[in-house]
Amino acid sequence: MIKMTLDMFLQHLTNGISLGSLYALIAIGYTMVYGILRLINFAHGDIFMMATYFTFFGVLFGGKWYVVFPITIILTALLGMLVEISAYRNLRDAPKISILISAIGASFLIENLAIVIFGGRPKAFPTIPLFTSVVHIRNISIQRLTFIIPVVTVILLLSLLYLINKTKTGMAMRAVSKDHETARLMGINVDRTISITFGIGSALAAVGGIMWGLKFPQIQPLMGVMPGLKCFIAAVIGGIGSISGAVIGGFILGIGEIMLIALLPSLTGYRDAFAFILLIAILLLKPTGIMGEKISEKV
């Protein structure tokens, strides 16, 4: 282990919290879709990637960030809903393996379309000084972004929890995730509720994507693969289906990953494996995750 000053430790910690927030935002999308459809939306990471490209082109064509960001969020939400309609809607009653394959296929399709349309070479995400400029605290320099990310995440999370628990739409979402048929009988438009769920999850991923792009300015068509996988793992660790679980999982993963390399730099190559090892551990110890509940099957 390397020795570290308090300043360095704090710097790493804030980086970890930032990364954790990004993971949390994306993980929420996975957990919401799984909660409502019992489906791993493999395409979610690619939707996150598309958000970064929407912003890239928006700014490229001269848009100001405060215009481009909202448009990106809307477009990404629509994209998410489009994926649901085309790849998942008609397979709701099919054997589980079919919808899993469809999810994988959708993911590959989006990735390869991105390669075809945008080209495989990385592009530079726009730098917006308001966010990316650096502030100096004591001996360390931190980007403004590092503070903005967790704040935005918390605001969005609280808004989401309000939506889920205090609004009719939220209640519909909770009902549908318990039982499609009964929800339908109670007059809930199941299709619309599912669409909204995808829309919200994708919108959150879009915010995550924008902030990710600001923090790590290189974007390429396959950039969503690893974060997508990791964020799904975060959702599982927190308890798949639970929004607070996804957030907890995201932070555990983000902070853990940064602290691991900070304290044991020789293990940097294993950075990505950290998430997978955590995954295996939790699947063996408590498969339903930190906040998860057991779902029993009627025999």
Binding site: I104, I115, F232, Y270, I280
Partner: protein, 351 residues
Amino acid sequence: MKKRDYYLTAISLILLIGFIFYADNNMDAYMVRILNLCAIYTILGLSMNLINGFTGLFSLGHAGFMSVGAYVTAILTLSVNAKVQNFFLKPIAAPLSNVVWPFFPALLLGGALTALVGFLIGAPALRLKGDYLAIATLGFAEIIRVIFTNTQTITNGALGLKGIPAYTNLWWSFGIAIFTIVTMILLINSSYGRAFKAIREDEIAAESMGIDLFKHKVLSFTIGAFFAGIGGGLLGNLLGTIDPLMFRFTLTFNILLIIVLGGIGSITGTVISAFVVTIAQEALRFLDQSINLGFVVIPGVAGMRMVVFSILLMLVVLFYRHGLMGTNEFSWDKFLNVISMKKPLLKGGRK
């Protein structure tokens, strides 16, 4: 099997041997390479189909299995000189520097070690169901890949291995493919194979009929891993170079594509699909490159090929869920009926 079937199968085998002999001596290297790939993907497809199609386990870690087999076989068959050349960053771990094995034992050990890995992964992972199993196996495959990328003295890390002796030829690949097909047929038609299918159909009912779920899942998983390792070994000694990036999820996806198109749960389907898809992937390579029509050149679009295959997969899974063969298998009866164009009994045909 009826006597007639024995003769027909024997004749087909003789024809196949004749074809391989011809191809080996007369076809150009490009075609031979494609044929080898077809046979290897048959083996890989069958190994995945045993686990996913017949036993109904969502296993997405196949690339991990293949990498184990490929690396073991490659490391064992690389000549001492080639090893020195490859491991220039850090020398290969001492015991391995002088070890050079012939192809067949190397392949076998590759398969055996992969089976062991399958067993070790299966023991914890197969306690999980459905989606959880899927991501656990995916996770394990990624862990294997990361380990291989970081064990510089054994696998040469991210640099990969070059100069792997090209031992894979049509005799090996087709021979092992036939062996795999026969093994799968014998396995699936045995009591154990029926137990696998029962697990796929309804785990709770299977367990209530006395089937030890865990033991049988691990069995299926381990056997599948064995053949995946052999396939990986054959692939390494065909391509001549391997590196950890080759064994990403894309590879698993390709094999998944094959078994879905052919019909999950059909040996025949997988075999046909492996050939069709491998040839098609080569044939459609033109999509990625420029098409020169003489008077105009249509620029190639890199990645278009995969777009087409992704769309194909989606179409099949959305509209033709059962793939080409569903769960049906080849039988000489059906085949002869088809080619003699007899009307089926139900439609007024004669017996």
